[in-house]
Symmetry: C2
Subunit: 249 residues, 2 copies
Amino acid sequence: MRIIAVLNQKGGAGKTTTALNVGAGLARLGRSVLLADLDPQAHLTCALGVPAHSLGLTVHDALTGATRPAACLLQVRDLLLLPASLVLSGAELDLAAAPGREFLLRKALEDLPGRDVAILDCPPSLGLLTLNALTAASEIVVPLQAEFLALQSLSTLLETVDAVRRRLNPGLAVTGIVCTRFNRRLRLNREVAGKIRSYFGDLAFETHIRENVALAESPGFGQDIFTYRPGSSGARDYLALCREIDRRQ
Amino acid sequence: MRIIAVLNQKGGAGKTTTALNVGAGLARLGRSVLLADLDPQAHLTCALGVPAHSLGLTVHDALTGATRPAACLLQVRDLLLLPASLVLSGAELDLAAAPGREFLLRKALEDLPGRDVAILDCPPSLGLLTLNALTAASEIVVPLQAEFLALQSLSTLLETVDAVRRRLNPGLAVTGIVCTRFNRRLRLNREVAGKIRSYFGDLAFETHIRENVALAESPGFGQDIFTYRPGSSGARDYLALCREIDRRQ
Ligand SMILES: Nc1ncnc2c1ncn2[C@@H]1O[C@H](COP(=O)(O)OP(=O)(O)OP(=O)(O)O)[C@@H](O)[C@H]1O
Ligand SMILES: Nc1ncnc2c1ncn2[C@@H]1O[C@H](COP(=O)(O)OP(=O)(O)OP(=O)(O)O)[C@@H](O)[C@H]1O
Ligand SMILES: [Mg+2]
Ligand SMILES: [Mg+2]
């Protein structure tokens, strides 16, 4: 199983939007997909139309060992979801002293039914939940808005990935960096995207995800972009990104 | 001294942009201003042109008591800055067991020279650094992008503020909620802004900060919007917001 962590400690990079629509896009390409929501905001859970406040078991129970992880799974259309809720915000402190605290998610995923791909949505930090994702993952996808502040955080992120690869997860690969909310009419977006390509070469995906309000609207209907607005530029861009991810095995 | 925490656990809400430009705007209105960067990403420090990686003393030293807080201050044009660096990302775990861990910033600010206003930029989480800001603050300003996912996080944020008011800081007031990156041509932005006004009434600022690429460019030059592009809509909107904040003592 490919386990793809979608992460960037910079807030608002497009992590949840990318996890939702890459998950749904890969399912359309015929892959069996598991989504895991590791953000205490539970936005991926909410964007799939699942009311996070009314959930019984969540990923928090799977991480703390309160229950078998398989018992937390929900089926949402053709996707399996390991949902989150606000309870997860206690995880950083609850699990800080647990032995093997970085391996809890990796262990939990081993208990789940096999899928082709698992996609992990991370919170905007490099704390314990993100470390769990990096330790469980076989690869990472980094969404990023092509603006100055976002570029500053990228080197810290890649240093953290290196440290995880050296100490916790030797096989961790970087599948790619994708520009989100991209507007090619803005010089700033073009310049920053150009810098990414010159610093990181092939790690930069060919596909940019263009600014498209349908992508910001679809979570309000509990739908991915392919269900909500199949003809939109958002749907086309995320399908193109999925094909690139599919090719970069 | 007014101590204004700029916070929202939703990533990319416009916290750093608001802290930078409200700080600079209030200074233009004749107030003496202190800015404190509580985000391990150190984006406020970076946006003021201060290279975070080459700093000696930072807010981390002030919080842990390694040094007198006044020794960490930097003068940047007409602003005083309590800078951050990446070292701060260890604070959540370093300080987790410290007695009175939520009061560390409040104590540190007492050691600093008196100013009219202090503005605290918070990370995208409700962890210990944000709790320190909420405990030290006399009031909060909440920037928010007028989109569906951002609206979901708002109720959790206001519940946390209530809990801090009850247990740690009885005087904590909510000065207002401001829509950032606002585009009145988008129905989504108009609808969400309308919901904020109907749910929160006068807590919603009259001023919206319009989408304006100059606001995303100015940090790349280490400048606030008034220095970088004084005639821009970003400068006009942030000055209008400063006047509203000034009036809402
Ligand atoms: N290409 C796009 N076009 C328009 N809106 C977008 C696009 N991508 C994301 N958005 C919107 O931008 C906001 C930020 O995206 P999102 O919430 O996915 O980022 P995130 O990195 O998950 O944020 P956080 O750091 O809070 O977890 C959301 O309101 C989302 O709907
Ligand atoms: N009104 C605006 N118009 C255009 N760009 C903006 C505006 N406000 C903020 N930005 C840009 O949007 C991005 C997010 O803003 P900012 O970094 O200030 O948010 P934040 O809440 O501090 O993010 P984080 O959660 O990572 O701390 C930045 O690249 C910033 O330059
Ligand atoms: Mg998210
Ligand atoms: Mg910020």
